[in-house]
Amino acid sequence: MSAQTNALMPAPKMKRSHLLRVPWLLYVVAILLSVTFLFPLFWMASTSLKSMEQAYAFPPVWIPNPVQWDNYAKIFTELPFLTFTINSILITVLNTTGVVLSSAVVAFGFSRLRAKGRDLLFILLISTIMLPSQVILVPTFILFKYLHWINTFLPLVVPAYFGGGAFNIFLLRQFFMTIPFEYDEAAIMDGASRWTIFWRIMLPLSKPALATVAVLNIVAVWTDFFGPLIYLNDLNKMTLAVGLSFLRGQHSAVLTLLMAGGMFTTLPILIIFFLAQRYFVEGIQLGGLKG
């Protein structure tokens, strides 16, 4: 009875056969689908470790033999992948620091402090989520051009320090609202300033939510293609995401290197996912449900 309490619960008279058969059927379906879902990633990994002959062989070779680790070394000599990696790390770290700090500060204001016009400003904030970024694309590009920021990391980093994105503010505000106001009141009694309450009470209590924002932002910045494509020009300024596409432009024939580059760009995200899985789940659900 308690084993399957959900939407697929069958009528009582079917219960016995259900308990006997359906879990097996579900397992078969789930396993078949899992294999399907895993296949593209497996195929990228597999191709990235093959020789060219094996990659194009018919019938297909599933497990590379011998394993060509060399492909991964080659991407670093074909293009400055090490520089790409350092650039990606630098931009991701600087951007995420800004996003976490400034969205937390702003979310504190929207969740803990009362003022005239607060609700109106909050509606304004939320409505900016709906605005397609292309609407502001051209003027923003021109602004950065006049500031001589084109072909530097500044356009990809500095805006993160100005609010950190409406969605992140919204997500942290939702979390801050769940923290009892008694903490603030007690701290005010003790003569603490708003900043102290924010820094000493709110932030330490919100580590899971801050980690969620950080993790989701790391993935977003790491995989961003549009931003670096527009604002960076020099090869040695590029990020991994855009650099990877150059690998195709330069050597469209070298499929195995392209797959190695793809794996190399994907791996850090997979590692972060396995280390911080619960923050992905919580963040997506917090943002999704309260929307």
Partner: protein, 308 residues
């Protein structure tokens, strides 16, 4: 409060913290307010102005009134790219919604190791768009791609997939089915919010699984579906990377709206025209989103409304 004399002192004390709180509020949200003015509102005004000019970055913008919008209407590629994007909104979005909801229902079972299955279903979402499209270009390869190889093995003739005008967009939709994991997680959270007692009560009243799903689960899940629909509309209108990597596709079949906008802005340096395109994009997104919201009384169920 309206008493006299003694009120003055407490009133002052009572007002001051309020004012202090107001000032603190505006100081805390200052980063966002600055960001909003500098990186959102200012550029919006500028963009609206630029959309009425001819502007190539090299020289100052010249006022041309609504000429950009008129040009747009007479540009076949504008309509084609809008059609391509609407094709994705009309097919990719509903298919993704159905697939992710189905996946969530499947993985809402209390099976042993269910968390492993959930992680596996989510895994393809983690592949960066650029790596993913390069991977699928290989999977879809006409001659040696694994998809055609497998089809050949079971006796189905090879298909042209991404290299064919008719097939290219359906191929991308097929590819996107591997990305249902993130929406699936949101539905899973929604499914957890469906009270077990409701299903038990319905079962006692003689309802079967199918009825339980449509009469209980779906209404309670409808706000989540609405959220997914709205986010989905915005997302589909933003499709860019796939089309960019595919070079716009055979006969512009994957030249999506944002790619056409990007090409005008940064390839042909028609910044005014690109700004006008952006406003049309905004308007179309807004109209479709409003239509979605208008339709909500007919299918979205809010528990709170019962109290009215």
């Amino acid at each position: 409060m309206s008493a006299t004399g003694t009120v003055i002192v407490p009133a002052r004390k009572g007002l001051r913290p309020r004012q202090k709180e107001s000032i603190a509020f505006y100081l805390f949200i200052l980063p966002w307010m600055l960001g909003f003015v500098i990186f959102t509102f200012g550029p919006m005004i500028a963009s609206a102005f630029l959309s009425l000019t001819s502007f190539s970055v090299m020289s100052a913008p010249t006022w041309i009134g609504t000429a950009n919008y008129v040009t747009m209407v007479h540009t076949p590629l504008f309509w084609k790219s809008m059609g391509n994007t609407l094709f994705m909104v009309a097919l990719d979005l509903p298919l993704g919604l159905i697939a992710s909801l189905s996946a969530a229902v499947l993985l809402n079972q209390k099976l042993r190791g269910i968390n492993v299955f959930r992680a596996i279903f989510y895994l393809p979402v983690l592949i960066p768009t650029i790596a993913n499209i390069l991977l699928w270009v290989w999977i879809f390869d006409k001659d040696s791609g694994i998809l055609n190889v497998l089809l050949k093995l079971v006796g189905i003739p090879a298909q042209p997939w991404l290299t064919d005008e008719l097939w290219s967009k359906p191929s991308l939709i097929f590819m996107n089915l591997w990305g249902v994991g993130s929406a699936m997680l949101i539905y899973l959270a929604g499914l957890k919010g469906v009270p077990v007692e409701l299903h038990e009560a319905a079962r006692i009243d003689g309802a079967n699984t199918w009825q339980g799903f449509w009469k209980i689960t779906m209404p309670l899940l409808s706000p989540t579906i609405l959220f997914q629909l709205v986010i989905g509309v915005i997302y589909e209108f933003q499709i860019f990377t796939q089309g960019y990597i595919l070079g716009g596709g055979p006969n512009f079949s994957t030249t999506f709206y944002v790619l056409e906008l990007f090409n005008n802005a940064f390839r042909y340096l028609k910044m005014g025209y690109a700004s006008a395109m952006a406003w049309v994009l905004f308007a179309v997104t807004l109209v479709i989103t409003l239509l979605v919201f208008r339709s909500t009384p007919y299918w979205v169920y809010y528990e709170a409304e019962r109290q009215r």
